[in-house]
Amino acid sequence: MTTAAPQAIAATKALEAVMRDDRGRLMAALISRLRDWELAEEVLQEAALSAVSHWGRAGPPSSPQGWLLKVALRKAIDRMRGGAREAKKAAAMAVLAKAEAEEMEAAHIPDERLSLIVTCCHPALEQKSQVALTLRTVCGLTTTDIARVFLDSEPAMGQRLSRAKAKIAKARIPFAVPGPEAWEDRLNAVLTTVYLIFTTGYTAGPDEPRDLCAEAIFLARLLADLRPAEAEIEGALALLLLTDSRRAARIGPDGATLPPAAQDRRLWDAPALAEGRALLDQALARRAPGPFQIKAAIAACQMADPGPDWPQIAALYTRLYIHEPTPVIALNHAVALAEAGYVTEALARLHPLDAALQAYQPYHAARAALLARAGRHDDSRVAYDRAIAMAGSLNDALFLSKGRDALPR
């Protein structure tokens, strides 16, 4: 039986809420002052620990965020004092002491989360480290959670995060929002990381303890808040919302994956779909096209009424290819062409992709379906077998088996 006073329970709840909602903001404020990611994380942890006892006695302060930031800065000053090396340290401490002395109400803490996100997604860091660091620092996931997502061991993920933080410090990756000449590229790197978090969650399914799709949508919304009127951010958020809105419909009653065209539309999340479409319209009206807006437009066309608008989707893939000239985009373009009725043309476009996409499962799945349409049943069966053997989930394997079994003998 717990004998904790109601006040202690209230304090713990208040702390949990702040650390969940404002961890990114506090980390950003600490990193920008301390210029040391590891130290920022440690002193915030210490401040949270001391909040448990202080708030438990006196109740949560009027500004829990301001309290935590102030205490964390004091902890940092204490540590510096311990290992003080005169002149330089003294100067750094004076700066910190000034920051600490300022009255810190939540609204007054300058929001430096945009700097935090773009630094986490710096192209000098490996892609996987960008994802891990963003989840740890901005979303507040634990190293254990992140290791789970990547199917890595916890020590391996811990090392990856440490290496990334050490590189930021040693190579002096700046903690800042890049200037206009670099902004477009850096924003694309950030949105790519956010999208990767989303797709990881989408593949993992909703049973994971932390729903990465929700984390990705949170990040996209945060970016839209921090940098309003940015067409690509709106496009990325629209893409996530549109894709997420059909999450409940993507697997049929028999457990097989369903493409959007075959899904039960009543299962689509209408508010998310409407918000996604509205955001996409808003983004397109800014007349600043980019790859995420095109991808969102493709998602919207796939969910058009009464069915997918394939000629439009094919045209959009042509435009996307200008931004991302990859074999995967060329494959998607070919599939859209076939759906629009140009099967022979689509097969001809598949052929030159063969070498580059041998190890890419969706290539074999798409090829199987196209060959079936073209009446080349034996070739199709071979491609289906290959795609089924490489399928990443049982649901996908089941979907493909149904396609293979439908081939005439």
Binding site: R85, E86, K88, A171, R172, I173, P174
Partner: protein
């Protein structure tokens, strides 16, 4: 903060002497040198003779061995370097992207080790 910009390339894929591409490459290096000097960031920068002039030295079992040839058997060789002093990695990467070799080789950017504990 000082960064070393290390320029690696495969000599067989470099523009050949006497071609228009070669002139463009040299013009690119000239412009980069001038710009880094004007910006006050250039500490040093040199091009190296080809690897056929390289000699590797190592000591094994108390005995110094000398060998004809470069340290690593790779297609891309270290062909030159710049040493620059700039505020942060983003600035260093901006200059690195202007090295003509990025078009056919690889340019590596490494921060210098800092031995002054006061700065850490």
């Amino acid at each position: 903060m000082q960064y070393m910009i290390l320029i690696y390339s495969d000599p067989t894929s470099e523009p050949a002497y006497g071609t228009k591409e070669f002139d463009a490459m040299m013009g690119g290096y000239f412009m980069l040198n001038e710009r880094m000097k004007a910006d006050g960031v250039l500490k040093a920068g040199e091009a190296l003779q080809g690897i056929e002039t390289a000699t590797s030295v190592r000591q094994r079992g108390g005995k110094v061995e000398t060998m004809d040839g470069p340290f690593a058997e790779t297609k891309e060789h270290l062909g030159g370097y710049y040493l620059i002093d700039v505020p942060d990695l983003d600035t260093a990467l901006k200059y690195a992207a202007l090295v003509p070799a990025v078009a056919y080789g690889t340019v590596e950017v490494r921060p210098l080790m800092n031995y002054n504990p006061m700065d850490n």
